[in-house]
């Protein structure tokens, strides 16, 4: 079952979607990326996949990666990579 997800874009995704904040329906991260492609095109989905994806602030690499389940009201952020120190 799809849930309403609060999405936050950063970096190049702001240009590609024309938005900073969004609401999309998806039940997993993989589905959210598909939604991204459907709504904003291939380039947006490609860029999204390339970024650090955080579900409720946690990197999906510490969760179930793209299989991470999403529930109603969850927050997903697409974060640009960084460096420095």
């Amino acid at each position: 079952m799809s849930a309403k997800i609060q999405v936050k874009y950063w970096g190049e995704l702001i240009t590609l979607t024309g938005k900073k904040d969004d609401e999309l329906e998806a039940s997993s991260v993989a589905e959210l990326i598909k939604q991204l492609e459907k709504t904003y095109g291939k380039a947006a989905a490609k860029e999204g996949k390339r970024m650090l994806i955080a579900v409720n602030g946690t990197n999906i690499q510490l969760l179930e990666r793209c299989k991470t389940r999403l529930n109603e009201g969850d927050r997903v952020a697409f974060l640009p990579l960084s460096g420095g120190g």
Binding site: W10, G11, K20, K49, R50, M51, L52, I53, A54, G57, T58, N59, I60, Q61, L62, R65, C66, A77, L79, P80, L81, S82, G83, G84, G85
Partner: protein, 628 residues
């Protein structure tokens, strides 16, 4: 061969002497923190307190400073660490280093104590000791405004004058922050050093060097790390990434994740406060943030300051952090140690042990607290001694978040265990950069090793520590070395199968890294992709420097500093972390969320060629050509 020229200054007697560094020293130690470590071993009287008049402080440059190579304006200050009693080096990107070199000096070796506040003024080959009594009491900004306009400046604020243990020295708006360098200046009555010169720093093979620089700048601009991530978000961009990987210290390192971290993230900073980005001299990376504060454009905070004056004190007020960053800079105080000491004091209050008027979640009173610390007013004088001192007086050693007395940087090592090993073994203490900065490969970068596994961390830490030492010794900014993570991993991103596989493979790379470390001098190659700095050193100095020798130079450097610390009384027992990091899992019930230091440390010593007491074996010293 152009050999470095140093000014030896005795502030007690007023004696000044120009000395040329010998060719053998130059070839072996080249400059910066490596040559400084050698000179400290030679000139620092054993056992003398860091703040005693007899102590020695070295302010120096590397061979690349001022040559126009990318990110090459960083100068070094080496001294006895006020917080640890061991070695200290502090690095700064202000204009002072380049100007000192243009004035004909590669470094200063300063001893003694002036009778009155002094301004060491260097102009085109001359050194003068000027009375600076009128400057005493001024903050770092006003002090610099009072000095000759075109001089490169290095000054202290009130914190240094009052011997705050983590006082800094400031050049322009860049800061030599760590280990209490400002207090050492203050103890010698040095209020300011300034330099002006017109000489071009020597470059042996100018034509080839210029061509190399053009190619290197273009490489840096094309690499996603130095051409995109750092210019757009600065180091501040790490807040959300560390948080997403549960490596963002929260509530004095009680946790590694803060719900509202985004409010103080680099992205939010870029979105809401950034006026423009800027840079140190001759740096195409331009990671510096410029922000508006009370109608004035000032330098914005680095990642460390955002994390430690934010989530680590359970707060997320960007305005307050910008102000605290500015105030610490003008008072001349290291933001990492200041914020770390405050976080410890907050936990003391939470536990009902001591009350310094600071509490978790509250930042509105901290500017006032900073002034009181800098002026050592009343009970705040105790906060000026740092968290180690506080824990020795009040208890709470298990949650005093320092190593060797130096407060830890803003990476929670229980989610970056290699960084934990780095904090424990760093010569200056809990410093991410001196610790080898494995956090970049474990918890905040594009490419991720298994952050919880001790596997290969000893070897990788040694390699990274050595490489960063050599980069620093040459006069470069360490950020310029971050292109060693191939651009392809940024393009694929952290979720791609290939990136994840590369991370996994690196987790098993320990034996290979050890092999490379052993055969380093045989690596007669220079490449943009690993450490282009070696080729730059070769072209500028004529020293036969290739990647392998460069890493070996870093190894020599690290061992020299270690020898100084051991001589001054530090032991293997100081290569440690607070119990919170090694005994209390970050996530209840998950035993892997502690730092397995006892597993990594023996391997680290072995990889370094140190005995079980952490002392470099004679064989290791022979290999490195170090005579004690």
């Amino acid at each position: 061969m152009n050999l470095p020229v140093y000014a030896y200054i005795n502030l007690s007697t007023g004696e000044l002497e120009k000395r040329t560094i010998s060719e053998s020293y130059f070839k072996k130690y080249i400059g910066g923190k490596t040559l400084a470590a050698r000179l400290l071993l030679d000139h620092y009287p054993p056992g003398v307190d860091a703040l005693a008049p007899e102590s020695v402080i070295i302010v120096n440059t590397g061979p690349l400073n001022g040559t126009g190579a990318p990110s090459s304006s960083r100068f070094n200050i080496s001294f006895k660490n006020v917080l640890s009693g061991g070695v200290a080096s502090s690095n700064c990107g202000g204009t002072f280093g380049v100007m000192m070199k243009r004035a004909g000096f590669d470094g200063l070796v300063i001893s003694g104590k002036s009778e009155h506040p002094v301004h060491i003024c260097i102009t085109d080959g001359d050194v003068e000791l000027l009375d600076a009594s009128e400057l005493w009491g001024l903050d770092a900004e006003k002090t610099q405004e009072s000095l000759p306009k075109h001089h490169g400046k290095l000054v202290i604020g009130q914190a240094g004058e009052n011997l705050v243990s983590y006082a800094s020295a400031v050049s322009g708006e860049r800061v030599a922050g760590r280990c209490g360098v400002g207090a050492v200046f203050g103890s010698k009555n040095i209020k300011a050093i300034s330099a002006f010169g017109t000489a071009e720093p020597p470059v042996l093979n100018k034509k080839k060097f210029d061509e190399f620089v053009v190619k290197w700048v273009s490489f840096l601009k094309k690499h996603p790390m130095t051409g995109d991530c750092l210019p757009h978000y600065g180091s501040a961009g790490l807040v959300n990434k560390a948080n997403a990987n549960w490596a963002l210290p929260t509530r004095n390192f009680q946790r590694g994740h803060y719900e509202q971290a985004d409010k103080v993230s680099g992205e939010t900073l870029a979105d809401t406060r950034l006026v423009r980005n800027s840079s140190c001299v001759s740096c195409p990376i331009r990671c510096e943030r410029r922000v508006m504060l009370d109608g004035k454009e000032v330098k914005g905070p680095e990642y460390e300051t955002l994390g430690l004056f934010g989530p680590n004190i359970d707060a997320c007020n960007m305005d307050d952090i910008l102000r605290l960053n500015y105030v610490c800079d003008i008072l001349g105080m290291d933001t990492i140690s200041a914020a770390g000491s405050i976080a410890f004091a907050m936990e003391l209050k939470e536990k009902g042990i001591a009350d310094f008027g600071v509490e978790f979640g509250r930042t509105d009173n901290l500017v006032d607290v900073m002034y009181k610390i800098a002026n050592r007013e009343g009970i705040y004088s105790e906060l000026a001694n740092g968290s180690k001192w506080l824990s020795e007086k009040y208890g709470g050693k298990e949650f005093a978040m320092h190593s060797k007395g130096l407060e830890m940087a803003s990476y929670e090592p229980r989610r970056s265990v290699g960084m934990g090993l780095g904090y424990a073994t760093g010569n200056r203490g809990g410093c991410h950069l001196n610790g080898g900065y494995l956090a970049l490969l474990e918890s905040v970068g594009a490419l991720s090793l298994d952050a919880q596994s001790p596997r290969s961390k000893a070897q990788l830490t040694v390699f990274m520590q050595n490489a960063l030492e050599a980069v620093s010794a040459s006069g470069f900014c360490l950020f310029s070395a971050q292109t060693f993570v191939p651009a392809v991993f940024f393009k694929l991103g952290p979720n791609h199968f290939i990136t994840r596989m590369a991370g996994r493979i690196m987790t098993f790379s320990g034996p290979l890294v050890r092999f490379i470390l052993n055969i380093a001098p045989a690596l007669w190659i220079n490449s943009f992709y690993l450490l282009p700095h070696a080729e730059a050193v070769r072209l500028v100095t004529g020293i036969r420097m290739y990647t392998g020798q460069f890493v070996r130079l870093g190894e020599r450097s690290f061992n020299l500093e270690r020898l100084f610390s051991l001589r001054e009384g530090l032991t293997a027992a100081d290569d440690t972390l607070p119990d919170r990091m090694t005994k209390t899992p970050q996530v209840k019930g998950r035993a892997d969320t502690v730092v397995p230091l006892d597993v990594m440390l023996p391997k680290y010593y072995k990889t370094r060629g140190w005995d079980k007491n952490g002392v470099p074996k004679p064989r290791t010293l022979r290999k490195l050509g170090i005579e004690v």
